[in-house]
């Protein structure tokens, strides 16, 4: 094993993670969550058209490969005159994707809050939006941390696909070094190691958030 190459390439890959993978994942997850909440509420709407639109969105996102979604945004949109740079393209595609998956998580979490909570809020005079914000979502948040952590960890790894639309992140750094050094096995295993390290740190974070939210249950 070429330890010199391993150590000299380690930092560029980690840097790709810090400046590419992680910001990309964080931005997409943040936007995706907002989108997901909207879609979840649409799905829960009693208005048939609104709820159908929400369902159609989830079906479309979950029924098509993420790589295809990414290519449609980056390579497809220019054909209809919309050119989007690699970074925004990646954030758009990943956000839309997270929006679809996380919507189902959030919907289930909202449904897991007992009806009695809605009723109690109603009897103290709360409008539905306030009930959702002050009573239901805080309780749903607790339930959705484990599955949303899953979604986030998947997203972190999925961002490696962005290397295919020219975004410089951890995997693309590894690919570049592999291309000129010809040490494919070493570099790809090294990239795998960096992803694994990132995800391990995230799992610790998940445990901490769960503990924090656990104090009242």
């Amino acid at each position: 094993m070429d330890w010199a190459l391993f150590s000299s390439s380690f930092w560029p890959i980690v840097r790709g993670g810090l400046t590419g993978t992680i910001p990309l994942a964080l931005a997409s997850f943040a936007i995706g969550l907002v989108l997901a909440l909207g879609i979840a509420l649409m799905r829960l709407s009693t208005h048939p058209v609104v709820s159908w639109l929400g369902r159609a969105y989830v079906s479309l996102i979950r029924g098509t490969p993420l790589l295809v979604q990414l290519f449609v945004v980056f390579y497809g949109m220019p054909s209809i005159g919309i050119v989007i740079n690699p970074w925004p393209s990646a954030i758009i595609a990943f956000s839309l994707n997270v929006g679809g998956y996380a919507a189902e998580v959030i919907r289930a979490a909202i449904l897991s809050v007992p009806t009695g909570q809605w009723e109690a809020a109603y009897t103290i005079g709360m409008p539905r939006v306030t009930t959702l914000r002050r009573i239901v979502l805080p309780q749903a948040a607790r339930v959705s941390v484990p599955p949303l952590s899953n979604t986030f960890i998947s997203l972190v790894k999925d961002t490696s696909l962005a290397s295919l639309i020219l975004v410089t992140e951890a995997f693309r750094e590894a690919q570049n070094i592999a291309a000129f050094s010809n040490e494919f096995m070493l570099l790809y295993l090294e990239a795998a190691l960096v992803y694994w390290l990132i995800c391990t740190v995230l799992s610790f974070g998940q445990t901490r958030i769960e503990r924090r939210l656990e104090r009242y249950v």
Binding site: A120, Y122, T123, I124, G125, T130, R134, Q139, R142, Y216
Partner: protein, 253 residues
């Protein structure tokens, strides 16, 4: 007797094919305590929930002194439903406290978030009420850290904090361990003595007997019999009422 607070006429409610309420009249005067009793499925809880809009009757009218006045034959506008709700407060069978909020936060949530009472003022009032039910020292506890009886007393305080004209109780002691029932009924009796207007769905006949001014026996979606507790309990006029009372008082027969 004192002035009328609420008048319900011909309240009907169906869930699909099933008609749960088949024309119920109810009058509540200020300061009165009314107990709704009857077998399960008799419609007493549905009637109670119709009084604050948790259920929307399929027919009938509901009038509160000072408004609103609702006619369920037509779709009820949201504003009217909210106006109805804002006149009352409810204590639930399973307390339905907000588990992610402390006792104090549970109590001030309505006044602060909905009525826009300044937080300091709402908290001072809430602490006074908690003091009265003996739970001031639990202000920072979460509901799950309390016993069933304590949870239900907080539920009562949460309702009181809104300063409603009408207090609704939906089987407030049915989910409690027997030895915890007393502490909740004691608080309710004190409220009655203070002059709160209360409608109580209950199986606690001794409570109804001691505290209520009027008892309504519901069966099959109608009020089969109504009267002063002394009359209704000692000399029921209807065979169904007699059977029901007998079964509750002598469960082994």
């Amino acid at each position: 007797m004192s002035e009328a607070l609420l008048a319900a006429r011909g309240i009907r409610k169906s869930f699909g094919e099933h008609e749960v309420l088949r024309g119920v009249d109810l009058d509540v005067r200020r300061g009165q305590v009314i107990a709704l009793i009857g077998p399960s499925g008799s419609g007493k809880t549905t009637l109670l929930r119709s009084l604050n809009g948790l259920e929307t009757p399929s027919a009938g009218t509901l009038e509160l002194d000072g408004g609103p006045s609702l006619d369920f034959a037509r779709p009820v506008p949201k504003a009217q439903r909210f106006a109805l709700r804002d006149r009352s407060a409810m204590v639930f069978q399973h307390h339905n406290l907000f588990p992610h909020l402390t006792v104090l936060q549970n109590v001030v949530e309505g006044p602060v978030q909905v009525r826009r009472v300044p937080r300091a003022e709402a908290e001072a009032r809430a602490l006074g009420l908690l003091e009265r039910v003996g739970l001031a020292d639990k202000r920072d506890a979460y509901p799950r850290q309390l016993s069933g009886g304590q949870q239900q007393r907080v539920g009562i305080v949460r309702a009181l904090a809104l300063g409603p004209d009408l207090l609704l109780f939906d089987e407030p002691t049915s989910a409690l361990d027997p030895e915890l029932v007393g502490e909740v009924l004691t608080v309710m009796k004190e409220l009655a003595d203070e002059g709160w207007t209360m409608v109580v769905v209950t199986h606690e006949l001794s409570f109804a007997r001691a505290v209520a001014n009027e008892v309504l026996f519901l069966d099959g979606g109608v009020v089969l019999e109504r009267g002063a507790p002394r009359d209704l309990f000692t000399d029921p006029q209807q065979e169904r009422t007699r059977q029901f009372l007998h079964r509750i008082l002598n469960p082994l027969d």
